[in-house]
């Protein structure tokens, strides 16, 4: 069963739905028209480009092109994580890249090679969307982990220094903040697994069902992707924070002043 296409006039009807929230926001005095228009336009253009890329990628299905696309996704995710966490690129760009690349590639290939087992492991139809979903969630987790870790550390600098002066190593002294940050980063993923199917029908499963898959197949894919998201987010956060410690402190174990961007 093929999914029903949405024709252009119906797309226009769809965009018309935005008028309702726009009007409501305007009535309660929020002037967000500019932001709403820009966001909706950006979404349209970005997804159109992705649609074009994916169509090309799927039809060519070249391993090197697929790898290049994943590399681009990783690089964009890396920059996005640091920008959103308010951290300076020059200190964190490499550790974050290594952490998200290792964890995303590990979870994606584990899923594709050992679980789904398509005829070619590099098949763009599998690795590109799965890596994208895993990376997207990994990105959220890493923003939370880095932001929480460095802001908590900065806020509790006196306590951290007290631990050092009581004989703690740098690692022992940061461990309480490390645990808090990793917990904050992985909790949404754990909560999401526990309420899946009860609170909301997951997006990937809905997409597959609309695409004509059997509900049981969609359920199994959803479970697979959730486990991979949880695994890669946890791995990435744990590795990223640990690697970042090497660059963020001076030789005397003091957190460098310049690692964080000044918030406006």
């Amino acid at each position: 069963m093929d999914t029903l296409d949405i024709a252009l006039p119906q797309m226009a009807v769809l965009y018309g739905l935005c008028l309702a929230p726009w009007l409501l926001l305007w009535l309660i005095g929020l002037r967000l028209s500019r932001d709403i228009v820009i966001s909706i336009l950006r979404m349209g253009v970005q997804l159109a480009l992705v649609g074009f890329y994916l169509k090309t990628l799927f039809s060519l299905n070249e391993p090197w092109l697929n790898a290049l696309w994943i590399l681009v996704m990783l690089a964009v995710a890396d920059l996005s994580i640091l920008q959103r966490a308010g951290l300076k690129l020059r200190f964190f760009v490499l550790p974050t890249f290594i952490a998200i690349a290792l964890s995303t590639l590990f979870a994606t290939f584990y899923l594709v090679v050992l679980v789904i087992q398509p005829p070619h492991f590099y098949d763009a139809r599998y690795i590109v969307p799965l890596a994208g979903m895993i990376l997207g969630n990994c990105l959220q987790g890493n923003v939370i982990a880095l932001e929480r870790f460095y802001s908590t550390l900065r806020k509790n600098e006196q306590e951290y220094m007290t631990f050092l002066l009581l004989g703690a190593t740098r690692w022992e002294a940061v461990r309480p903040y490390y645990r808090v940050a990793v917990k904050a980063a992985v909790s949404p993923s754990i909560a999401s697994m526990s309420t899946m199917g009860l609170v909301s029908l997951p997006g990937m499963m809905t997409g597959q069902i609309l695409g004509g898959s059997e509900p049981w197949v969609a359920v199994k894919y959803q479970i697979a992707i959730m486990i991979c998201i949880f695994t890669s987010t946890t791995l990435a956060c744990v590795i990223n924070l640990k690697l970042s410690l090497r660059n963020a402190f001076n030789a005397y174990d003091v957190l460098k002043d310049e690692v964080m961007e000044l918030r406006k």
Partner: protein, 225 residues
């Protein structure tokens, strides 16, 4: 008391600190020998606390050097400084929920694991500082500033620290507690570099180092009480 024959513990040699073009310390030089008790005094902003911070590696030097047991302060020697030094500020961070947990906190770290003191030892060191044993089970956030300072001091004593950097440590104490603190530092094995304005404390120190706008302007020696 003078200590010319004792080994030097700390030596500042023209130590200078400049932060964003502002000079905080300007070519400070002095030596502190084993067992000496010295006090830094001067107006607010004269650089007293910065002297303590530089020694702990919390503030980098922009000129000159600091030597700890005649070794220049670097990433390796700073570990030795921190191992042997207790820093007690005006509002110490205890870093645990109860006073007992705060006293036992350092013994979770690899450096002190296996040397955990007994309850009897905890109570003895508290008594030495005029603190009741019942304070052990109190929440560390609910005790007074003076009690926090003495708990931090007790932690230093339990760790066998021999160099104490004290920032206005007697300012929040009543007369009896102050006498208890004085008695602890009468120990000739303990070396002290402090920041204080309390005349009684100044009187009990061997040396007074006066700072003015980051410069050492005066060095006076007292007879030890």
């Amino acid at each position: 008391m003078t200590y010319p024959t004792m080994p030097a513990i700390i030596r500042f040699d023209h130590a200078t600190v400049t932060v964003r073009d502002k000079t905080i310390l300007s070519g400070i030089s002095f030596t502190l020998r084993l067992g000496e008790k010295a006090v830094l005094c001067g107006k607010s902003g004269s650089g007293k606390s910065t002297v303590l911070k530089t020694l702990l590696g919390l503030q980098g030097l922009t000129g000159g050097s600091i030597f700890f047991q005649e070794k220049p302060l670097d990433a390796v020697t700073i570990q030795a400084v921190r191992r042997q030094t207790a820093y007690i500020g005006q509002e110490p961070v205890l870093g645990a929920d109860t006073v007992r947990d705060a006293l036992l906190l350092p013994f979770q770290f690899k450096a002190h694991r296996g040397h955990k003191p007994t309850d009897g030892q905890l109570k003895a060191v508290l008594a030495q500082l005029h603190l009741p044993a019942a304070i052990l089970d109190q929440e560390s956030g609910r005790i007074s500033g003076g009690e926090k300072q003495r708990v931090a001091l007790a932690r230093g004593l339990l760790l066998g620290k021999n160099l104490y950097l004290l920032d206005e440590v007697t300012s929040a104490l009543d007369s009896e507690s102050k006498q208890a603190v004085f008695a602890v530092f009468a120990d000739p094995k303990l070396t002290v570099l402090s920041v204080a304005h309390d005349p009684e404390w100044l009187e009990r120190c061997d040396r007074v180092l006066a700072l003015e706008e980051g410069r050492l302007t005066q060095e006076a020696c007292h007879g030890h009480a």
